[in-house]
């Protein structure tokens, strides 16, 4: 197999969050419009200069990305509709990065947005997929809660995890969320409160579940040169993978597609798991966060429970995870939940994370996980983002094309070029 081309020269910038609300009478188009307006304002680009667009949304129907172009008066020369929920952030970035590298687009706006009407969550569940309509929704109509209850219960039995172990993930994320002004949850959460929460689908309890809400997340993908010319704080793409419908013969999900491709991810970035300063896992349920710790190589299979006992996962802890609070504490704005880790990672690596900053963060990993069509999520993806090189370092790196791939960029001069952030 040919070695995949790397993502050298691709910059990700202008993380935008359209504030979340529990319910909204607006449509998804409104949230996409707000996100694009912010991208334009913060970047200083004219709307016409955005010549690539990806859209991820569950509540846009019957429109797709192309409907958005007319609705918002865009005329991109490159367009992609990426309706893959929790994996859409990583997938949008990968596609946009290739478009930029190939010259098919100069500046790609990657947008994920969903509205949440009072009854829209229920309606989405019943028509989420053909398999859900035929083989999961008629069984109790619990939505993903029942599926992840099976996965959690099986994981607990097989690997000895306890509710406390999952609680540690939720509690530390809440601690992070308290420093995120946009998080939906504003109150601290203790482990006792987590344990005492009402059951939803045993062993899933209230604080294992995300709160559906309305909102948007977005970012721009362009060449590193362009980002520098525009004076935009940006991060670099060091490596990225995706995999769909992996381990289809496992009767119940105990591992995800990250495991198939992770060696390539780290090889592409030239780093090891121990070099990563923070992770933004996809946290639809805590058990999935634990699977990502394992399958992305931070600990071995079945070691998730001891890993969470040994680490603090707050932004200033030994293993910072979901520093925005994640969906469990910030809220799940539909497909925007799949972008939450990406915008947060860009902020962390451009010194825009405020008081929840991960100290001295150079490298961050963002994982995606999406689409429970039947009994498991099908899409997995991950991307490693690195702090942008200073111009001097960048020139040095160009001279050492081959060797530098295995080097983590140094920390000196960080913040230079970080002119603006959203």
């Amino acid at each position: 197999m040919n070695r995949r081309k790397g993502y050298e020269g691709v910059a990700v910038a202008v993380p935008v969050t359209v504030p979340y609300v529990r319910h909204s009478t607006r449509s998804a188009h409104w949230f996409i419009g707000q996100a694009l307006e912010a991208l334009v304002k913060v970047s200083g680009l004219a709307k016409e200069q955005i010549d690539g667009l990806t859209v991820s949304s569950f509540s846009l129907a019957p429109d797709t990305a192309v409907g958005v172009t007319q609705h918002l008066g865009l005329s991109p020369r490159w367009l992609d509709h990426i309706p893959t929920g929790g994996a859409s952030g990583v997938m949008a970035l990968r596609r946009a990065a290739r478009a930029v590298q190939a010259g098919d687009a100069d500046v790609v706006a990657c947008v994920a947005a969903d509205t949440n009407h009072v009854d829209s969550f229920r309606q989405t569940l019943g028509s989420f997929s053909n398999f859900a309509r035929d083989a999961s929704y008629p069984y109790g109509s619990g939505g993903p809660n029942s599926i992840f209850a099976f996965i959690t219960s099986n994981y607990m039995r097989e690997f000895g995890a306890t509710r406390e172990d999952f609680g540690r993930i939720a509690v530390d994320q809440r601690t992070n969320a308290l420093k995120n002004p946009n998080a939906m949850f504003k109150k601290p959460l203790t482990l006792d409160e987590y344990i005492a929460a009402r059951p939803i689908a045993d062993p899933i309890h209230l604080f294992d579940c995300v709160m559906p809400c309305a909102g948007a997340e977005a970012f721009l993908v362009m060449s590193e040169t362009r980002a520098r010319e525009l004076g935009l704080a940006h991060v670099l793409v060091r490596g990225a993978i995706e995999r769909h419908n992996a381990f289809a013969d496992d009767p119940v999900m105990v591992r995800g597609g990250w495991l198939v491709d992770r060696a390539e991810l780290y090889a592409q970035a030239g780093v090891q798991p121990k070099d990563i300063d923070f992770v933004q896992t996809y946290d639809d349920y805590p058990v999935i966060v634990m699977l990502q710790f394992e399958d992305l190589g931070f600990c071995g299979k079945g070691e998730g429970p001891s890993f969470v006992r040994e680490n603090r996962m707050t932004h200033d802890g030994s293993f910072p995870n979901n520093t925005s609070g994640g969906q469990l504490s910030a809220g799940q704005a539909g497909a925007a939940g799949g972008f939450l880790g990406m915008t947060e990672a860009i902020r962390q690596l451009t010194d825009a994370a405020g008081e929840r900053a991960v100290p001295d963060a150079q490298l961050g990993l963002v994982a995606g996980f999406g689409m429970v069509t039947y009994d498991r999520c099908l899409c997995t993806g991950a991307v490693i983002l690195g702090r942008a090189l200073t111009p001097a370092l960048s020139r040095k790196r160009e001279r050492e094309t081959h060797d530098s791939l295995s080097t983590v960029p140094g920390g000196e001069g960080r913040g230079e070029g970080a002119g603006r952030s959203a």
């Binding site: 035929d134 083989a135 999961s136 109509s141 119940v252 009994d375």
Partner: protein, 420 residues
């Protein structure tokens, strides 16, 4: 062990009768194949004819070899229960009103993983996966769902709370049998009483006549004889006014059966008499009792639940030596499909029974095998308990059904040539 169902107390007439809310009933066209099998009491999954891989959820092409040749094939349902959950929350009204609700994840020995409703006797998975047997049932929306049953049968299994939501068990229910004068009617009454029916109203078109076997059923404490003449709309309406709001199961077994086809008789009197009971009688009954039944479909553990039509295997293809009777049953079958569609929104199950020749006087000239009235009655009880929709009791019915499914035109030719 399932706790035996206790007879519910008399209902307070002032309390609001709960309205029916159905479980999610949307299915794709392919998935309806599972419903078609479950409607006859079978658990079938698609099996690839090229590589033998078993598919689930239902698909358009094999997930292993991409062949489109997927055939619905009966399954043993043997498998391992990997995981369970109890829902305390649901997004759907039907389940919200019935929480908590247990579900399981089963790895079938034949390959696929299934999400199933769990029978109460299936215990939690503690250390290792547990052996279970999966079966298919129709739920209240009339769509197939999978159920995880315990490996061992037990006495009161049918009383399981979840299972009773799927089935139409006569236990503690009030039943109307429309004609008590026939051998089949009397066997039905006996069978309903034996199955635990609370009250069996037995229709009698000519109450002044004393008929053989009448004493045997009228002395049963559960039985009440009621005047009912299906040829007379007023008679049907009067009975409906009296008991329509209480009946949980209607069994329409009233029929007129005369032999011969077109050429052996002059005039239409006999054919009209057949139609007047077999078709118009069913129509009058449905108009009078259907609405009341629908309104009580969620009325507690002994809610209104089912409507049984006694049709005939001759409804599928005309049997010329019983030609006009076949025609009336074909009309009744078509009407029963309409009734089923109209009842669907309330969750009332319409059960169509297609027996082969019954061992009674009007089939005297036909050779065995014939279905005995008792066997027919127990097939109907079983249909109610299993919640199936279509029943073909007797060897002849089974054989005709197979021939009809194989090639209806060939069957028509065989029957025209005097074959049976």
């Amino acid at each position: 062990m399932t706790m035996p169902l206790m007879k519910p107390k008399r209902k307070n007439p002032l309390i609001r009768t709960r309205q029916m809310s159905l479980p999610p009933g949307a299915r794709g066209r392919i998935a309806l194949g599972m419903t078609a099998a479950a409607a006859e009491g079978r658990f079938e999954l698609q099996v690839c004819q090229a590589c033998a891989a078993v598919q689930y959820p239902p698909r358009e092409a094999c997930h292993r070899c991409l062949s489109p040749r997927l055939k619905w094939t009966p399954q043993s349902g043997e498998g391992r229960l990997l995981s369970t959950t109890t829902l305390h929350h649901s997004n759907d009204l039907f389940f919200r009103e019935r929480l908590p609700w247990r579900l399981g994840l089963v790895h079938l020995d034949s390959g696929p993983t299934l999400i199933v409703h769990l029978h109460g006797e299936v215990e939690e998975v503690v250390d290792a996966p547990r052996r279970v047997r999966v079966g298919a049932r129709l739920d209240r929306a009339g769509q197939a769902v999978l159920i995880g049953f315990p490996n061992e049968e037990s006495v009161h299994m049918a009383d399981d709370r979840m299972l009773r939501e799927m089935t139409s068990d006569p236990k503690f229910r009030k039943v109307l049998v429309t004609d008590g004068k026939t051998a089949v009617g009397q066997a039905l009454v006996q069978a309903m009483v034996k199955a635990g029916a609370d009250i069996v109203w037995v229709g009698h078109a000519e109450p002044w006549k004393k008929l053989p076997g009448w004493d045997d059923i009228s002395k049963l404490p559960q039985v009440t004889l009621v005047p009912l003449d299906l040829t007379n709309g007023k008679s049907v309406d009067e009975l409906s006014g009296e008991i329509g709001g209480k009946v949980d199961i209607v069994i329409n077994n009233a029929e007129v059966h005369r032999t011969y086809g077109i050429g052996s008789r002059r005039g239409t009197d006999v054919a009209k008499a057949e139609m007047d009971i077999n078709y118009f009688g069913a129509l009058r009954l449905a108009q009078a009792f259907g609405g009341a039944l629908k309104s009580r479909a969620a009325d507690g553990v002994t809610s209104a639940t089912a409507w049984v039509n006694l049709l005939s295997i001759y409804a599928l293809s005309n049997f010329p030596s019983h030609g006009t009777y076949s025609a009336s049953k074909a009309a009744a079958y078509s009407l029963a499909q309409c009734l089923r569609a109209e009842m669907r929104s309330s969750g009332i199950r319409v059960i169509n029974v297609f027996p082969g020749p019954i061992d009674d006087e009007w089939n005297q000239a036909l050779p065995p095998p014939k279905v005995s009235p008792a066997a027919l009655a127990s097939a109907i009880v079983k249909a109610l308990r299993d919640g199936v929709e279509d029943v073909y009791p007797g060897d002849v019915a089974q054989e005709w059904l197979e021939r009809w499914r194989d090639n209806p035109k060939v069957l028509e030719r065989e029957l025209a040539a005097g074959g049976s």
